[in-house]
């Protein structure tokens, strides 16, 4: 027994494979944050007046929170105070002119994406994935535009959306996550430099998976992207984001905001495979991933589904949520969160039931290894008018070794007596007997562990688009490599 426990504790961490640094010229603003910087970002991006005003409003709100030191402290994570004045809020690969095609993208950047295994070149996109790649803060290339345009789907960088579709941006930006929502959302609203924008018009099923890869490269910068997805009546879209970052000793801040809006009978499926640099074995470095994600199921029979596989980041603070406003609307949250070494994750969801007969499903799978700390924090709120609302929550934790932790904080608030709530929770240790059983059938220990974990996560993986499910499984095995003897 003891030898296995020792081996389980013997965390020899697999090297982070995405940790290289790309040397390119960057255009960056000096560190620090004030109204001037916010204006400068807006000017650099050639934004219309309303955007600058919106940013300034967000900045002023944030600054006053920062004055009061009102950064959220309630999450079950520990980190030294962040010096927001030491960060640079804008860094972009230097480009001489506007890009017209992929050929004009800096080959160094394309090379980076190639190393990341992202199918950026058109020919590789036959797989049917349209990719928007955000490098540091700027969207570098959006592929597959033509085919999408044919269907009437707008998929572009946020900056382009501000230029070409200001009316849509004006109408929807901040309509789900207002600038005053929380400290990090306010910060993002003030300084975000790019991100992705999707609009699927009435009755259109988006003809392909949409996908964005985020990459932090520059040093001492924060990355603040903004994603806005709108599915108009009867429209549907599936969107996937992936993230990586180079290995750096100092922590880097990533504070993104994602807003989803689904009108009547519309469906949005949003999947994340988050693999930001998690820090080293001793917990040095890594990304602080402080993200606000929220979807509004605005119309009747609309549906918003979040699926996330979170294996990276030193700290994850993230609660993709659904506001179920339309009658019969559906919200889903499927999550795998893995913490190894000294990673900390405080993640979960909020399901706010407003409309009648609204339904939500929450399936959370937390895996802790090494000294990892994994917290599920979820809220289900049934408002007065939400007659016939239903929620199912299942929340399982798996522990590998005996130095890690799993915590569960479910909050439930029911104001309508007709609500039906189901909650299941479990905590288990990965069993030496399970590993041995598989080994006795010829399967190696590493494979046995990855098989057991994939089995544990199955209910979530089956929600991912096929090709990404495979990727997610691999990622999980790599992130755990060496954590079990």
């Amino acid at each position: 027994m003891s030898s296995t426990v020792n081996q389980i504790n013997d965390l020899t961490q697999q090297e982070y494979k995405w940790g290289f640094i790309t040397s390119i010229d960057e255009d960056r603003l000096p560190p620090g944050l004030n109204e001037e910087i916010v204006r400068a970002i807006s000017l650099k991006k050639g934004e219309p007046e309303f955007m600058m005003e919106w940013r300034l409003k967000a900045y002023r709100y944030w600054a006053q929170l920062e004055q009061k030191q009102a950064e959220p402290k309630w999450a079950n994570v520990k980190y030294p105070p962040i010096d927001y004045q030491a960060l640079s809020y804008y860094s972009a690969p230097k480009q001489k002119k506007e890009l017209k095609s992929l050929e004009e993208v800096d080959p160094e950047i394309l090379d980076t994406y190639a190393k990341l295994g992202i199918p950026l070149h058109e020919q590789k996109l036959l797989a049917g994935v349209a990719v928007d790649a955000v490098f540091d803060s700027v969207s570098v290339a959006t592929t597959f535009k033509a085919k999408l345009a044919e269907a009437g789907v707008i998929f572009c960088s946020f900056s382009e959306a501000v230029k070409n579709h200001p009316e849509l941006v004006k109408k929807y930006l901040g309509s789900v996550v207002p600038v005053t929502d929380n400290f990090f959302a306010a910060l993002n609203s003030a300084v975000f430099s790019d991100g992705s924008f999707v609009y699927v018009p009435k009755g259109v099923r988006c003809p392909m998976e949409l996908s964005t890869y985020f990459r932090i490269n520059a040093q001492n910068t924060g990355q603040f992207e903004r994603t806005l997805i709108i599915a108009d009546e009867g429209a549907s879209v599936s969107y996937l984001e992936g993230c990586t970052a180079p290995i750096r000793d100092e922590n880097q801040l990533h504070a993104a905001v994602v807003e989803l809006i689904a009108h009547d009978n519309a469906t949005i499926k949003y999947s994340t495979v988050q693999n930001w640099y998690p820090g080293d074995k001793e917990g040095k470095g890594g990304i602080y991933n402080f993200v606000t994600k929220r979807g509004k199921a605005l119309g009747k029979n609309s549906k918003i589904s979040w699926t996330q596989v979170e294996t990276g980041s030193a700290i994850t603070w993230k609660y993709p949520s659904c506001i179920l406003q339309g009658d019969n609307s559906i919200g889903e949250f499927y999550s795998v969160a893995l913490t190894n070494n000294y990673q900390q994750a405080d993640t979960g969801t909020k399901m706010i039931h407003i409309g009648k007969n609204t339904k939500s499903t929450v399936v959370s799978k937390g895996i802790s290894a090494g000294h990892g700390q994994n917290t599920y924090r979820g809220m289900v709120k049934i408002l007065k008018g939400a007659t016939g609302a239903r929620n199912y929550t299942q929340c399982d934790s798996l522990l590998i070794g005996d130095k890690c932790g799993a915590h569960t904080f479910p909050y439930i608030e029911v104001k309508n007596a007709s609500a039906r709530m189901e909650h299941e929770a479990s905590t288990s240790k990965i069993g030496e007997d399970q590993i041995f059983y598989l080994q006795q059938r010829g399967i190696s220990k590493e494979e046995a562990v990855s098989m057991i974990i994939n089995g544990f996560c199955k209910a979530v993986f089956k929600e991912l688009p096929m090709e990404f499910a495979v990727e997610a499984q691999k990622l999980l095995s790599i992130s755990l490599e060496g954590s079990v003897g």
Binding site: M1, S3, Q439, G442, K458
Partner: protein, 255 residues
């Protein structure tokens, strides 16, 4: 050459010596039965053979098919052709029986440098073995052992043995928990696998199993030692008299 040769085996769990000098030789084609009181070390012997790490071998040697078994990791022993049917089969949630068994077979094939099997070739093979054990096809897609009844789990162990076709099968109380019909089905499955190259070690408490699978040799394990060995008639004698009389006699492991 013998298939399994255990000499003076001593093994401990958590510092307690459980096996206190076991000698046992098994030749290809033979079926040996090991009987003995609860806690005497039968499962411990099986686990040691399967190379479970928590069971520490403190003295002695085990040769398996001419190789030093004690040098092998559990998966290597399995790939070399050693199979153990568990007394308490383990549940693996979220992994289907079919997926798991194909992964296992492919691991073994790969180890032996043979071509791995794809799902299309594997499925008919698995279905055939399940028919042999009269197991319903719905067990193909059910997670490994999860929610199986005690008897279903035991039967599933034998299905696995039939797929993996080991050189040596160690069946740890495969009969306990089986109803009469299931016992016959399992015995039929096991007998179908008996051949001149394959050996079996059956750990059991009951003569009943040995009515269906007639062993060549019976050994009595008491307090970590084999205290008596004989032919099938020894099992009948034990059934009648219990174990207490065997301990008085000098230990004599056969062959």
């Amino acid at each position: 050459m013998s298939l399994l040769e255990i000499k003076n085996l001593h093994a401990s769990v958590n510092g307690n010596e459980i096996l206190k000098g076991i000698d046992l030789t098994v030749n290809p084609g033979e079926v040996h039965s090991i009987m003995g009181p609860n806690g005497s070390g039968k499962s411990t012997l099986a686990q040691v053979l399967a190379r479970r790490e928590s069971y520490e071998v403190t003295a002695g040697s085990i040769m398996f098919d001419g190789k030093d078994l004690l040098e092998m990791k559990p998966e290597d022993a399995a790939c070399e052709g050693l199979f153990m049917a568990f007394q308490y089969p383990v549940e693996i949630p979220g992994i289907s029986n079919a997926y798991f068994l194909r992964a296992a077979l492919n691991a073994v094939l790969k180890y032996r440098g043979q071509d791995e099997m794809d799902a299309i070739d594997f499925l008919p093979l698995l279905k055939e073995k399940m028919r042999l054990l009269e197991m319903d096809e719905r067990f193909l897609n059910r997670p490994v052992n999860e929610g199986f009844s005690g008897g279903e789990k035991k039967r599933n162990e034998i299905v696995q043995m039939a797929v993996l076709e080991p050189k040596l099968a160690v069946l740890d109380e495969t009969d306990s928990g089986l109803d009469i019909d299931a016992l016959k089905i399992v015995a039929k499955g096991v007998n179908a696998m008996r051949n001149k190259n394959r050996a079996m070690v059956l750990v059991t408490h009951y003569q009943r199993l040995l009515d269906y699978i007639v062993p060549d040799f019976v050994h009595v394990l008491v307090n970590g030692r084999i205290v008596k060995s004989g032919g099938p008639e020894l099992a009948l004698e034990l059934e009648e008299k219990g174990y207490s009389w065997t301990e008085a006699e000098p230990a004599g492991a056969r062959r």
